[in-house]
Protein backbone atom coordinates (compact mmCIF):
# COMPACT_ATOMS: atom_id res chain seq x y z
CA UNK A 1 0.00 0.00 0.00
CA UNK A 2 1.24 3.46 -0.78
CA UNK A 3 1.16 5.95 2.09
CA UNK A 4 0.18 9.59 1.72
CA UNK A 5 2.97 12.13 2.05
CA UNK A 6 1.51 13.42 5.29
CA UNK A 7 1.50 9.96 6.85
CA UNK A 8 5.11 9.47 5.79
CA UNK A 9 6.06 12.86 7.20
CA UNK A 10 4.49 12.11 10.60
CA UNK A 11 6.05 8.66 10.62
CA UNK A 12 9.52 10.00 9.82
CA UNK A 13 9.24 13.05 12.08
CA UNK A 14 6.70 12.21 14.73
CA UNK A 15 5.63 15.28 16.73
CA UNK A 16 5.51 15.21 20.50
CA UNK A 17 6.64 11.68 21.21
CA UNK A 18 7.03 11.09 24.90
CA UNK A 19 5.30 10.87 28.24
CA UNK A 20 4.00 13.23 30.88
CA UNK A 21 3.72 12.32 34.55
CA UNK A 22 0.42 10.51 34.74
CA UNK A 23 0.09 11.31 38.45
CA UNK A 24 0.34 15.03 37.89
CA UNK A 25 -3.10 16.57 38.58
CA UNK A 26 -2.82 18.76 35.47
CA UNK A 27 -2.24 15.75 33.18
CA UNK A 28 -4.90 13.65 31.48
CA UNK A 29 -3.94 10.24 30.11
CA UNK A 30 -5.77 8.07 27.59
CA UNK A 31 -4.66 4.59 26.62
CA UNK A 32 -6.77 2.86 24.00
CA UNK A 33 -6.51 -0.20 21.77
CA UNK A 34 -5.07 -3.62 22.54
CA UNK A 35 -1.81 -5.36 21.64
CA UNK A 36 -3.66 -8.37 20.15
CA UNK A 37 -5.34 -6.02 17.69
CA UNK A 38 -2.04 -4.52 16.67
CA UNK A 39 -2.70 -0.97 17.92
CA UNK A 40 -2.26 0.71 21.29
CA UNK A 41 -2.20 4.50 21.61
CA UNK A 42 -1.25 6.47 24.68
CA UNK A 43 -2.15 10.14 24.52
CA UNK A 44 -1.48 12.65 27.27
CA UNK A 45 -2.42 16.28 27.73
CA UNK A 46 -1.33 18.90 30.22
CA UNK A 47 -4.06 21.44 30.96
CA UNK A 48 -3.51 24.86 32.40
CA UNK A 49 -6.53 27.05 33.13
CA UNK A 50 -8.72 25.11 30.73
CA UNK A 51 -6.21 25.25 27.87
CA UNK A 52 -4.15 22.31 26.65
CA UNK A 53 -0.57 23.55 26.93
CA UNK A 54 1.21 20.31 26.10
CA UNK A 55 0.41 16.97 24.46
CA UNK A 56 2.48 13.80 24.10
CA UNK A 57 1.90 10.40 22.55
CA UNK A 58 3.32 6.94 22.27
CA UNK A 59 1.85 4.49 19.79
CA UNK A 60 2.25 0.80 19.02
CA UNK A 61 0.71 0.36 15.61
CA UNK A 62 1.07 0.81 11.88
CA UNK A 63 2.35 3.97 10.21
CA UNK A 64 -1.15 5.40 9.92
CA UNK A 65 -1.78 4.86 13.63
CA UNK A 66 1.47 6.64 14.47
CA UNK A 67 0.60 9.49 12.12
CA UNK A 68 -2.95 9.81 13.50
CA UNK A 69 -1.74 10.14 17.08
CA UNK A 70 1.12 12.46 16.12
CA UNK A 71 -1.34 14.72 14.32
CA UNK A 72 -3.72 14.58 17.28
CA UNK A 73 -1.05 15.96 19.62
CA UNK A 74 -0.39 18.82 17.20
CA UNK A 75 -4.07 19.69 17.04
CA UNK A 76 -4.60 19.45 20.80
CA UNK A 77 -1.98 21.98 21.77
CA UNK A 78 -3.49 25.42 22.32
CA UNK A 79 -7.09 24.23 22.32
CA UNK A 80 -9.40 24.46 25.27
CA UNK A 81 -10.72 21.24 26.74
CA UNK A 82 -14.10 21.93 25.18
CA UNK A 83 -12.61 22.62 21.74
CA UNK A 84 -10.59 19.42 21.97
CA UNK A 85 -13.81 17.45 22.44
CA UNK A 86 -14.85 18.57 18.97
CA UNK A 87 -12.00 16.80 17.13
CA UNK A 88 -13.51 14.08 14.94
CA UNK A 89 -11.87 11.05 13.43
CA UNK A 90 -13.05 12.20 10.00
CA UNK A 91 -10.94 15.35 10.38
CA UNK A 92 -7.91 13.11 10.81
CA UNK A 93 -8.91 10.93 7.84
CA UNK A 94 -9.19 14.00 5.64
CA UNK A 95 -5.98 15.61 6.82
CA UNK A 96 -3.88 12.44 6.40
CA UNK A 97 -5.75 11.09 3.34
CA UNK A 98 -6.22 7.74 5.08
CA UNK A 99 -7.59 4.94 2.88
CA UNK A 100 -10.72 3.03 4.06
CA UNK A 101 -8.68 0.18 5.61
CA UNK A 102 -6.94 2.70 7.87
CA UNK A 103 -9.99 4.54 9.15
CA UNK A 104 -9.87 2.54 12.39
CA UNK A 105 -6.53 4.29 13.15
CA UNK A 106 -8.30 7.64 13.15
CA UNK A 107 -11.12 6.25 15.29
CA UNK A 108 -8.56 5.06 17.79
CA UNK A 109 -6.94 8.51 17.83
CA UNK A 110 -10.32 10.12 18.53
CA UNK A 111 -10.91 7.58 21.31
CA UNK A 112 -7.49 8.39 22.76
CA UNK A 113 -8.28 12.12 22.78
CA UNK A 114 -11.62 11.48 24.48
CA UNK A 115 -10.02 9.15 27.03
CA UNK A 116 -7.32 11.69 27.91
CA UNK A 117 -9.91 14.46 28.33
CA UNK A 118 -12.12 12.18 30.38
CA UNK A 119 -9.21 11.26 32.62
CA UNK A 120 -8.40 14.94 33.15
CA UNK A 121 -12.03 15.75 33.96
CA UNK A 122 -12.29 12.87 36.39
CA UNK A 123 -9.24 14.09 38.23
CA UNK A 124 -10.85 17.47 38.56
CA UNK A 125 -14.31 16.25 39.42
CA UNK A 126 -12.80 14.39 42.32
CA UNK A 127 -9.67 15.03 44.36
CA UNK A 128 -7.03 15.90 41.81
CA UNK A 129 -4.02 13.67 41.49
CA UNK A 130 -5.29 10.72 43.50
CA UNK A 131 -6.34 8.45 40.68
CA UNK A 132 -4.58 6.23 38.21
CA UNK A 133 -5.24 6.80 34.49
CA UNK A 134 -8.50 5.32 33.29
CA UNK A 135 -7.16 2.43 31.29
CA UNK A 136 -4.97 1.17 34.04
CA UNK A 137 -7.43 1.25 36.87
CA UNK A 138 -9.27 -1.87 35.80
CA UNK A 139 -6.10 -3.89 35.97
CA UNK A 140 -6.65 -7.18 37.67
Amino acid sequence: MAYSEKVIDHYNNPRNVGSLDKNDPGVGTGIVGAPECGDVMKLQIRVDEGVIVDAKFKTFGCGSAIASSSLATEWLKGRTVNEAMQIKNTDIVNELHLPPVKIHCSVLAEDAIKAALEDYRKKHGEQAGTREPAAMERKH
Partner: protein
Protein backbone atom coordinates in the same frame (compact mmCIF):
# COMPACT_ATOMS: atom_id res chain seq x y z
CA UNK B 1 25.39 -1.64 -2.89
CA UNK B 2 22.16 -0.77 -4.67
CA UNK B 3 18.91 0.18 -2.92
CA UNK B 4 16.24 -1.02 -2.54
CA UNK B 5 17.40 -4.45 -1.43
CA UNK B 6 15.23 -7.41 -2.34
CA UNK B 7 14.97 -9.82 0.59
CA UNK B 8 11.54 -11.32 0.01
CA UNK B 9 12.57 -14.42 -1.90
CA UNK B 10 9.78 -16.58 -0.45
CA UNK B 11 7.33 -14.42 -2.36
CA UNK B 12 9.12 -14.71 -5.64
CA UNK B 13 12.63 -14.67 -7.08
CA UNK B 14 14.07 -12.80 -10.03
CA UNK B 15 14.66 -14.79 -13.21
CA UNK B 16 18.29 -15.78 -13.39
CA UNK B 17 19.84 -14.06 -16.46
CA UNK B 18 21.01 -17.45 -17.77
CA UNK B 19 17.44 -18.70 -17.54
CA UNK B 20 16.12 -15.74 -19.49
CA UNK B 21 18.74 -16.28 -22.17
CA UNK B 22 17.65 -19.89 -22.57
CA UNK B 23 13.99 -18.84 -22.87
CA UNK B 24 14.26 -16.05 -25.42
CA UNK B 25 14.57 -18.05 -28.67
CA UNK B 26 11.38 -19.91 -27.77
CA UNK B 27 9.33 -16.74 -27.98
CA UNK B 28 10.44 -15.91 -31.51
CA UNK B 29 12.22 -18.21 -33.95
CA UNK B 30 11.46 -21.44 -32.04
CA UNK B 31 7.80 -20.68 -31.44
CA UNK B 32 6.31 -24.06 -32.40
CA UNK B 33 3.53 -25.89 -30.60
CA UNK B 34 4.94 -28.91 -28.78
CA UNK B 35 1.84 -30.86 -29.77
CA UNK B 36 2.38 -30.34 -33.52
CA UNK B 37 3.50 -33.79 -34.60
CA UNK B 38 4.10 -33.25 -38.28
CA UNK B 39 6.58 -30.45 -38.79
CA UNK B 40 9.97 -29.30 -37.60
CA UNK B 41 8.58 -26.37 -35.58
CA UNK B 42 6.59 -28.77 -33.44
CA UNK B 43 9.45 -31.25 -33.09
CA UNK B 44 11.81 -28.52 -32.00
CA UNK B 45 9.36 -27.34 -29.31
CA UNK B 46 8.68 -30.90 -28.19
CA UNK B 47 12.39 -31.61 -27.86
CA UNK B 48 12.83 -28.50 -25.75
CA UNK B 49 9.95 -29.54 -23.48
CA UNK B 50 11.37 -33.04 -23.14
CA UNK B 51 14.77 -31.67 -22.19
CA UNK B 52 13.22 -29.38 -19.57
CA UNK B 53 11.13 -32.22 -18.18
CA UNK B 54 14.33 -34.19 -17.71
CA UNK B 55 16.09 -31.32 -15.98
CA UNK B 56 13.16 -30.86 -13.61
CA UNK B 57 12.80 -34.59 -12.92
CA UNK B 58 16.52 -34.83 -12.17
CA UNK B 59 16.21 -32.19 -9.45
CA UNK B 60 13.66 -34.25 -7.50
CA UNK B 61 14.77 -37.78 -8.48
CA UNK B 62 11.67 -38.49 -10.55
CA UNK B 63 11.02 -39.93 -13.99
CA UNK B 64 10.39 -37.21 -16.62
CA UNK B 65 7.02 -38.84 -17.41
CA UNK B 66 5.93 -38.09 -13.86
CA UNK B 67 6.09 -34.31 -14.35
CA UNK B 68 2.77 -32.63 -15.19
CA UNK B 69 3.12 -28.98 -16.12
CA UNK B 70 0.66 -26.52 -14.60
CA UNK B 71 0.44 -22.75 -14.29
CA UNK B 72 2.07 -22.80 -10.86
CA UNK B 73 1.95 -24.32 -7.40
CA UNK B 74 -1.54 -23.01 -6.71
CA UNK B 75 -2.89 -24.98 -9.63
CA UNK B 76 -0.78 -28.01 -8.69
CA UNK B 77 -2.20 -27.95 -5.15
CA UNK B 78 -5.74 -27.67 -6.51
CA UNK B 79 -5.19 -30.43 -9.02
CA UNK B 80 -3.64 -32.77 -6.48
CA UNK B 81 -6.38 -32.43 -3.88
CA UNK B 82 -9.38 -32.19 -6.14
CA UNK B 83 -8.03 -34.66 -8.68
CA UNK B 84 -7.39 -37.31 -6.02
CA UNK B 85 -10.63 -36.61 -4.16
CA UNK B 86 -12.68 -37.08 -7.31
CA UNK B 87 -10.74 -40.11 -8.56
CA UNK B 88 -10.68 -42.02 -5.26
CA UNK B 89 -14.05 -41.02 -3.86
CA UNK B 90 -15.32 -44.60 -4.02
CA UNK B 91 -12.46 -45.63 -1.79
CA UNK B 92 -12.96 -42.99 0.87
CA UNK B 93 -13.88 -39.42 1.63
CA UNK B 94 -11.36 -38.39 4.26
CA UNK B 95 -8.31 -36.18 3.76
CA UNK B 96 -5.64 -35.20 6.27
CA UNK B 97 -3.68 -31.99 6.02
CA UNK B 98 -2.02 -29.54 8.42
CA UNK B 99 -2.85 -26.12 9.83
CA UNK B 100 0.26 -24.46 8.42
CA UNK B 101 -0.39 -25.20 4.75
CA UNK B 102 -0.43 -22.50 2.13
CA UNK B 103 -3.86 -21.06 1.28
CA UNK B 104 -3.83 -22.97 -1.98
CA UNK B 105 -4.19 -26.18 0.06
CA UNK B 106 -6.40 -24.84 2.85
CA UNK B 107 -8.91 -23.20 0.54
CA UNK B 108 -9.04 -26.25 -1.71
CA UNK B 109 -9.63 -28.43 1.35
CA UNK B 110 -12.45 -26.11 2.43
CA UNK B 111 -14.04 -26.49 -0.98
CA UNK B 112 -13.80 -30.26 -0.73
CA UNK B 113 -15.51 -30.09 2.66
CA UNK B 114 -18.37 -28.20 1.03
CA UNK B 115 -18.53 -30.97 -1.54
CA UNK B 116 -19.02 -33.55 1.21
CA UNK B 117 -15.48 -34.67 1.99
CA UNK B 118 -14.23 -34.61 5.53
CA UNK B 119 -10.88 -33.01 6.26
CA UNK B 120 -8.71 -33.23 9.37
CA UNK B 121 -6.33 -30.31 9.91
CA UNK B 122 -3.63 -31.60 12.20
CA UNK B 123 -1.94 -29.10 14.53
CA UNK B 124 1.79 -28.42 14.59
CA UNK B 125 4.24 -28.19 17.46
CA UNK B 126 5.45 -24.86 18.85
CA UNK B 127 8.51 -25.09 16.58
CA UNK B 128 6.24 -25.43 13.54
CA UNK B 129 6.93 -29.08 12.81
CA UNK B 130 4.19 -31.58 12.09
CA UNK B 131 4.38 -34.61 14.33
CA UNK B 132 4.05 -37.74 12.14
CA UNK B 133 2.42 -39.58 15.05
CA UNK B 134 -0.38 -37.04 15.13
CA UNK B 135 -0.96 -37.66 11.43
CA UNK B 136 -0.94 -41.40 12.08
CA UNK B 137 -3.60 -41.00 14.76
CA UNK B 138 -5.80 -39.00 12.41
CA UNK B 139 -5.95 -41.82 9.84
CA UNK B 140 -9.30 -43.55 9.43
CA UNK B 141 -10.34 -46.41 7.13
CA UNK B 142 -11.78 -43.71 4.87
CA UNK B 143 -8.56 -41.72 4.50
CA UNK B 144 -7.47 -41.43 0.87
CA UNK B 145 -4.90 -38.64 1.00
CA UNK B 146 -2.43 -36.97 3.33
CA UNK B 147 -1.13 -33.56 2.26
CA UNK B 148 1.70 -31.93 4.22
CA UNK B 149 3.80 -28.95 3.28
CA UNK B 150 7.48 -29.74 2.86
CA UNK B 151 8.94 -26.37 3.91
CA UNK B 152 6.74 -23.61 5.24
CA UNK B 153 6.63 -20.33 3.33
CA UNK B 154 6.54 -18.11 6.43
CA UNK B 155 8.79 -19.79 8.94
CA UNK B 156 10.86 -22.04 6.66
CA UNK B 157 10.36 -25.06 8.90
CA UNK B 158 11.14 -28.35 7.15
CA UNK B 159 8.67 -31.11 7.96
CA UNK B 160 9.67 -34.76 8.48
CA UNK B 161 8.08 -35.76 5.17
CA UNK B 162 10.00 -39.02 4.80
CA UNK B 163 8.40 -40.27 8.03
CA UNK B 164 4.98 -39.15 6.88
CA UNK B 165 5.61 -40.87 3.55
CA UNK B 166 6.42 -44.13 5.33
CA UNK B 167 3.23 -43.94 7.37
CA UNK B 168 1.15 -43.22 4.27
CA UNK B 169 2.71 -46.14 2.41
CA UNK B 170 2.10 -48.57 5.30
CA UNK B 171 -1.57 -47.63 5.30
CA UNK B 172 -1.99 -47.54 1.52
CA UNK B 173 -2.83 -43.82 1.55
CA UNK B 174 -1.55 -41.38 -1.06
CA UNK B 175 0.85 -38.68 0.10
CA UNK B 176 0.99 -35.21 -1.43
CA UNK B 177 3.46 -32.52 -0.42
CA UNK B 178 3.52 -28.84 -1.30
CA UNK B 179 7.25 -28.45 -1.87
CA UNK B 180 7.08 -24.98 -3.43
CA UNK B 181 9.57 -23.42 -1.01
CA UNK B 182 11.85 -26.45 -0.82
CA UNK B 183 12.54 -27.51 -4.40
CA UNK B 184 15.76 -25.96 -5.63
CA UNK B 185 16.77 -24.89 -2.10
CA UNK B 186 17.27 -28.19 -0.27
CA UNK B 187 17.61 -31.76 -1.55
CA UNK B 188 14.16 -33.11 -2.42
CA UNK B 189 13.92 -36.77 -3.40
CA UNK B 190 10.44 -38.11 -4.09
CA UNK B 191 11.67 -41.70 -3.80
CA UNK B 192 13.48 -41.32 -0.49
CA UNK B 193 10.65 -39.20 0.90
CA UNK B 194 7.88 -41.54 -0.24
CA UNK B 195 6.01 -38.73 -1.96
CA UNK B 196 3.26 -39.67 -4.44
CA UNK B 197 2.30 -36.17 -5.57
CA UNK B 198 4.26 -32.97 -5.19
CA UNK B 199 3.61 -29.33 -6.09
CA UNK B 200 6.28 -26.81 -6.99
CA UNK B 201 6.75 -23.72 -9.10
CA UNK B 202 9.44 -22.05 -11.23
CA UNK B 203 9.21 -18.52 -9.88
CA UNK B 204 10.49 -19.46 -6.44
CA UNK B 205 13.68 -20.91 -7.95
CA UNK B 206 14.84 -18.17 -10.31
CA UNK B 207 12.57 -19.28 -13.13
CA UNK B 208 9.64 -17.43 -14.73
CA UNK B 209 6.19 -16.88 -13.23
CA UNK B 210 3.22 -18.76 -14.63
CA UNK B 211 4.74 -22.23 -14.82
CA UNK B 212 4.78 -24.95 -12.20
CA UNK B 213 4.53 -28.69 -11.95
CA UNK B 214 2.76 -31.48 -10.20
CA UNK B 215 4.82 -34.59 -9.74
CA UNK B 216 2.50 -37.60 -10.13
CA UNK B 217 3.95 -41.01 -9.27
CA UNK B 218 3.66 -43.66 -12.01
CA UNK B 219 4.91 -46.75 -10.16
CA UNK B 220 4.34 -48.14 -6.65
CA UNK B 221 1.64 -47.00 -6.72
CA UNK B 222 0.48 -45.66 -10.06
CA UNK B 223 -1.43 -42.53 -9.09
CA UNK B 224 -4.52 -41.65 -11.08
CA UNK B 225 -5.93 -38.17 -11.16
CA UNK B 226 -9.17 -36.63 -12.42
CA UNK B 227 -8.25 -33.57 -14.49
CA UNK B 228 -9.60 -30.13 -13.68
CA UNK B 229 -9.01 -28.76 -17.15
CA UNK B 230 -10.30 -30.81 -20.05
CA UNK B 231 -9.32 -30.37 -23.65
CA UNK B 232 -6.64 -31.64 -25.99
CA UNK B 233 -5.39 -34.31 -23.62
CA UNK B 234 -1.98 -32.78 -22.99
CA UNK B 235 0.12 -33.97 -20.05
CA UNK B 236 -1.30 -37.49 -20.25
CA UNK B 237 -4.80 -36.08 -20.01
CA UNK B 238 -4.20 -34.64 -16.56
CA UNK B 239 -3.84 -31.02 -17.67
CA UNK B 240 -4.95 -29.95 -21.11
CA UNK B 241 -3.78 -26.79 -22.80
CA UNK B 242 -0.98 -25.87 -25.19
CA UNK B 243 2.29 -25.97 -23.31
CA UNK B 244 3.97 -22.59 -22.73
CA UNK B 245 7.28 -23.72 -24.22
CA UNK B 246 9.40 -20.66 -23.30
CA UNK B 247 8.28 -20.88 -19.67
CA UNK B 248 8.95 -24.60 -19.56
CA UNK B 249 12.41 -24.10 -21.05
CA UNK B 250 13.07 -21.50 -18.35
CA UNK B 251 11.75 -23.79 -15.62
CA UNK B 252 14.07 -26.55 -16.86
CA UNK B 253 17.09 -24.29 -16.97
CA UNK B 254 16.30 -22.91 -13.50
CA UNK B 255 16.04 -26.46 -12.14
CA UNK B 256 19.32 -27.40 -13.74
CA UNK B 257 21.12 -24.40 -12.23
CA UNK B 258 19.64 -25.10 -8.79
CA UNK B 259 20.73 -28.73 -8.96
CA UNK B 260 24.28 -27.76 -9.83
CA UNK B 261 24.58 -24.86 -7.40
CA UNK B 262 22.71 -26.30 -4.44
CA UNK B 263 25.60 -27.61 -2.32
CA UNK B 264 27.53 -24.36 -2.60
CA UNK B 265 24.50 -22.06 -2.59
CA UNK B 266 22.81 -23.59 0.44
CA UNK B 267 26.06 -23.35 2.38
CA UNK B 268 26.44 -19.68 1.48
CA UNK B 269 22.81 -18.86 2.29
CA UNK B 270 22.91 -20.76 5.58
CA UNK B 271 25.89 -18.66 6.65
CA UNK B 272 24.11 -15.44 5.63
CA UNK B 273 20.94 -16.59 7.39
CA UNK B 274 22.74 -17.30 10.64
CA UNK B 275 24.61 -14.01 10.45
CA UNK B 276 21.36 -12.12 9.86
CA UNK B 277 19.60 -13.87 12.74
CA UNK B 278 22.46 -13.46 15.20
CA UNK B 279 23.28 -9.92 14.08
CA UNK B 280 19.75 -8.82 14.87
CA UNK B 281 19.00 -10.97 17.90
CA UNK B 282 22.19 -10.27 19.81
CA UNK B 283 21.70 -6.51 19.50
CA UNK B 284 18.02 -6.36 20.47
CA UNK B 285 16.36 -7.79 23.55
CA UNK B 286 12.95 -9.44 23.46
CA UNK B 287 13.20 -10.77 19.93
CA UNK B 288 11.91 -14.24 19.18
CA UNK B 289 12.83 -16.56 16.33
CA UNK B 290 9.68 -18.13 14.90
CA UNK B 291 9.96 -21.70 13.66
CA UNK B 292 12.58 -24.36 14.25
CA UNK B 293 16.16 -23.18 14.87
CA UNK B 294 17.86 -25.72 12.59
CA UNK B 295 15.25 -27.74 10.67
CA UNK B 296 14.79 -24.73 8.52
CA UNK B 297 15.30 -23.52 4.95
CA UNK B 298 18.76 -22.02 4.39
CA UNK B 299 17.18 -18.75 3.31
CA UNK B 300 14.57 -18.11 6.01
CA UNK B 301 14.66 -15.90 9.08
CA UNK B 302 11.41 -14.99 10.84
CA UNK B 303 11.61 -12.86 13.96
CA UNK B 304 9.04 -11.24 16.25
CA UNK B 305 10.11 -7.93 17.75
CA UNK B 306 8.12 -7.42 20.94
CA UNK B 307 6.40 -4.02 21.38
CA UNK B 308 6.67 -2.88 17.76
CA UNK B 309 4.09 -3.46 15.07
CA UNK B 310 5.19 -5.17 11.85
CA UNK B 311 3.79 -2.79 9.29
CA UNK B 312 5.34 0.25 10.94
CA UNK B 313 8.61 -1.67 10.99
CA UNK B 314 8.36 -2.36 7.26
CA UNK B 315 7.56 1.30 6.70
CA UNK B 316 10.80 2.23 8.43
CA UNK B 317 12.68 -0.38 6.42
CA UNK B 318 11.29 0.99 3.19
CA UNK B 319 14.48 0.47 1.19
CA UNK B 320 14.39 -3.25 1.99
CA UNK B 321 11.71 -5.55 0.54
CA UNK B 322 10.47 -7.83 3.32
CA UNK B 323 7.18 -9.20 4.60
CA UNK B 324 5.36 -9.21 7.90
CA UNK B 325 2.84 -11.43 9.66
CA UNK B 326 1.00 -8.33 10.80
CA UNK B 327 -2.66 -8.15 9.86
CA UNK B 328 -2.05 -4.62 8.64
CA UNK B 329 -0.03 -5.99 5.74
CA UNK B 330 -2.64 -8.48 4.62
CA UNK B 331 -6.18 -8.19 3.36
CA UNK B 332 -7.62 -9.78 6.49
CA UNK B 333 -7.85 -8.40 10.00
CA UNK B 334 -6.10 -11.41 11.47
CA UNK B 335 -2.35 -11.69 11.86
CA UNK B 336 -0.53 -14.68 10.37
CA UNK B 337 -2.45 -17.93 10.87
CA UNK B 338 0.81 -19.84 10.61
CA UNK B 339 2.32 -18.04 13.60
CA UNK B 340 -0.90 -18.39 15.55
CA UNK B 341 -0.88 -22.12 14.84
CA UNK B 342 2.52 -22.27 16.57
CA UNK B 343 0.95 -20.67 19.62
CA UNK B 344 2.61 -17.30 19.01
CA UNK B 345 0.37 -14.68 20.63
CA UNK B 346 -1.44 -12.21 18.39
CA UNK B 347 0.69 -9.31 19.61
CA UNK B 348 3.90 -11.12 18.64
CA UNK B 349 2.38 -12.26 15.35
CA UNK B 350 1.67 -8.60 14.58
CA UNK B 351 5.32 -7.90 15.37
CA UNK B 352 6.89 -10.44 13.03
CA UNK B 353 9.12 -9.91 10.03
CA UNK B 354 10.09 -12.52 7.46
CA UNK B 355 13.46 -12.19 5.79
CA UNK B 356 13.80 -14.31 2.65
CA UNK B 357 17.36 -14.53 1.39
CA UNK B 358 18.17 -15.41 -2.17
CA UNK B 359 20.85 -16.13 -4.73
CA UNK B 360 21.57 -12.48 -5.37
CA UNK B 361 21.83 -11.22 -1.79
CA UNK B 362 25.29 -10.27 -0.60
CA UNK B 363 27.04 -10.13 2.75
CA UNK B 364 27.10 -6.35 2.50
CA UNK B 365 23.31 -6.29 2.08
CA UNK B 366 22.88 -8.54 5.10
CA UNK B 367 25.00 -6.19 7.21
CA UNK B 368 22.93 -3.24 6.03
CA UNK B 369 19.68 -5.03 6.84
CA UNK B 370 20.92 -5.89 10.34
CA UNK B 371 21.94 -2.28 10.97
CA UNK B 372 18.68 -0.82 9.68
CA UNK B 373 16.52 -3.34 11.56
CA UNK B 374 18.24 -2.55 14.85
CA UNK B 375 17.91 1.19 14.23
CA UNK B 376 14.23 1.11 13.35
CA UNK B 377 13.21 -1.31 16.09
CA UNK B 378 15.01 0.86 18.62
CA UNK B 379 13.34 4.00 17.30
CA UNK B 380 9.88 2.42 17.31
CA UNK B 381 10.33 1.02 20.80
CA UNK B 382 11.11 4.52 22.02
CA UNK B 383 7.74 5.43 20.58
CA UNK B 384 5.92 2.36 21.92
CA UNK B 385 3.67 2.64 24.99
CA UNK B 386 3.98 -1.12 25.43
CA UNK B 387 7.75 -0.98 25.66
CA UNK B 388 7.49 1.80 28.22
CA UNK B 389 4.97 -0.15 30.29
CA UNK B 390 7.05 -3.30 30.14
CA UNK B 391 10.11 -1.35 31.28
CA UNK B 392 8.07 -0.04 34.21
CA UNK B 393 7.48 -3.64 35.19
CA UNK B 394 3.83 -3.81 34.15
CA UNK B 395 2.71 -7.26 33.03
CA UNK B 396 1.01 -6.47 29.72
CA UNK B 397 -0.95 -9.70 29.74
CA UNK B 398 -2.70 -8.59 32.93
CA UNK B 399 -3.82 -5.20 31.67
CA UNK B 400 -7.43 -4.96 30.69
CA UNK B 401 -7.29 -3.05 27.43
CA UNK B 402 -9.91 -0.54 26.43
CA UNK B 403 -11.30 -0.57 22.94
CA UNK B 404 -10.55 -4.14 21.98
CA UNK B 405 -12.14 -4.88 18.65
Amino acid sequence: MKLPIYMDNHSTTPVDPTVLEAMLPYFTEKFGNAASRNHAFGWEAEAAVDAARQQIAALINADPKEIVFTSGATESDNLALRGIAEMYREKGDHIITTVTEHRAILDTAKRLEKMGFSVTYVPVRADGLVDPDVIKQAITPKTILISAILANNEIGTINPVAEIGTIAKERGILFHSDATQAVGKIPVDVQAMGIDLMSFTAHKMYGPKGIGALYVRRKNPRVRLAPMIDGGGHERGMRSGTLPVPLIVGFGKAADICRQMMPEESKRLTALRDRLRDGIMTQLDETYLNGHPTRRLPNNVNISFAYVEGESLLMGLKDIALSSGSACTSASLEPSYVLKALGVGSELAHSSIRYGLGRFNTEEEVEYVIRRTVEIVTKLREMSPLYEMAKEGIDLSKVEWKGEH
